[in-house]
């Protein structure tokens, strides 16, 4: 197992590569979902006649 993580001495380059890729994948999911949720909330506020909804 530790041999797997050592990656033949390339661990210091290989795992950070996988980490940043993972971060990008998760971050883009979060960004997209948040953008949709906030656009949706703003649209709903607007439909209820809240003038604040037109501001955001």
């Amino acid at each position: 197992m530790s041999e797997f993580f050592a990656m033949d001495g390339y661990a210091a380059f290989l795992w950070p590569s996988y980490l940043i890729t993972f971060v990008a994948i998760v971050a883009n999911i979060v960004i997209a979902l948040k953008a949709h949720a906030s656009a949706r909330a703003a649209a709903l506020r607007r439909l209820e006649g809240d003038p604040a909804g037109t501001q955001t």
């Binding site: 797997f4 990656m7 033949d8 001495g9 390339y10 380059f13 290989l14 950070p16 590569s17 996988y18 940043i20 890729t21 990008a24 994948i25 971050a27 883009n28 999911i29 960004i31 997209a32 979902l33 953008a35 949709h36 906030s38 656009a39 949706r40 703003a42 649209a43 709903l44 607007r46 439909l47 909804g53 037109t54």
Partner: protein, 246 residues
């Protein structure tokens, strides 16, 4: 006039696209997750080490798909921008705008993973090589596109100005792809994205192809969610929203 353009004009209709995007998202998201997980196992565990680079070559499984995404997303973005310009289609501009952020992220990933691969193998994190430089220019194109959009308040003008920038940047795409063939470059030629037979055996190739597939599906899913957000923000007063958000 004989051609039936109804299907095309439906793609110009925000309610239709909003609904369709919502329906399609899970069909891209779950296969994407499965492909990426399977490709991770295949790439990190099943694939044998390389005869020259040993275990270090496994960086290819995150580097090459990210680089592919960065270029493919730009092509999608420029196509959508062109459609938006020609047909004055707001949804197409919204689609182009939803691509830029994702493309910029994966351009950064391709650059950073490339540096982390270059240090042990080539002996340097960075050199001003044609391929590497063209990829950096791609990042600046994405950032310029995003900056231009956020700098113009009027949405219609922002759409048109950023679309022109996206189209101008298209010239960089063949430069990235062919830089390693047109000029002497430290970067190796493509192993997979070429007409000839891939330059690796099946047990290395299959996880890589799965990763390409997974990343592409992942992009489709994330882009559709962002597209829905973009449509909602643009169509704030439209009455169909009341219907759609029930």
């Amino acid at each position: 006039m004989g051609t039936n353009w109804a299907w095309f004009h439906r793609f110009g209709s925000p309610p239709h696209v909003y609904r369709l995007a919502g329906l399609l998202t899970p069909w891209f998201a779950w296969p994407a997750a499965l492909s990426i997980l399977a490709a991770l196992y295949g790439g990190l565990v099943l694939a044998p080490p390389d005869y020259q680079q040993g275990e270090g070559f496994r960086i290819i499984y995150v580097h090459a798909p990210s680089a592919w995404l960065s270029v493919m997303i730009y092509a999608v973005m420029a196509t959508a921008a062109g459609v938006g310009l020609i047909w004055r289609m707001k949804v197409a501009h919204a689609a182009a705008a939803s691509c830029a952020g994702i493309g910029a992220w994966f351009t950064v990933v391709s650059l950073v993973t490339g540096m982390l691969w270059g240090k042990p193998m080539w002996g340097t994190y960075w050199v001003w090589d044609p391929r590497l430089t063209a990829q950096l220019v791609l990042l600046f194109l994405y950032l310029g596109y995003i900056g231009l959009r956020s700098g113009i308040d009027d949405l219609g003008r922002a759409d048109r100005a950023s679309a022109v920038l996206a189209l101008v940047g298209v010239v960089n795409i063949p430069i990235i792809r062919y830089s390693v063939e047109w000029w002497n470059s430290i970067h190796q030629a493509p192993s997979v994205m070429k007409m000839a037979k891939p330059s690796m055996p099946m047990e290395m190739l299959v996880p890589l192809l799965l990763m390409f597939l997974g990343f592409t599906l992942y992009f489709a899913a994330v882009m559709l969610v962002r597209l829905r957000a973009e449509i909602l923000r643009r169509e704030r007063s439209a009455s169909w929203i009341r219907e759609a958000l029930r």
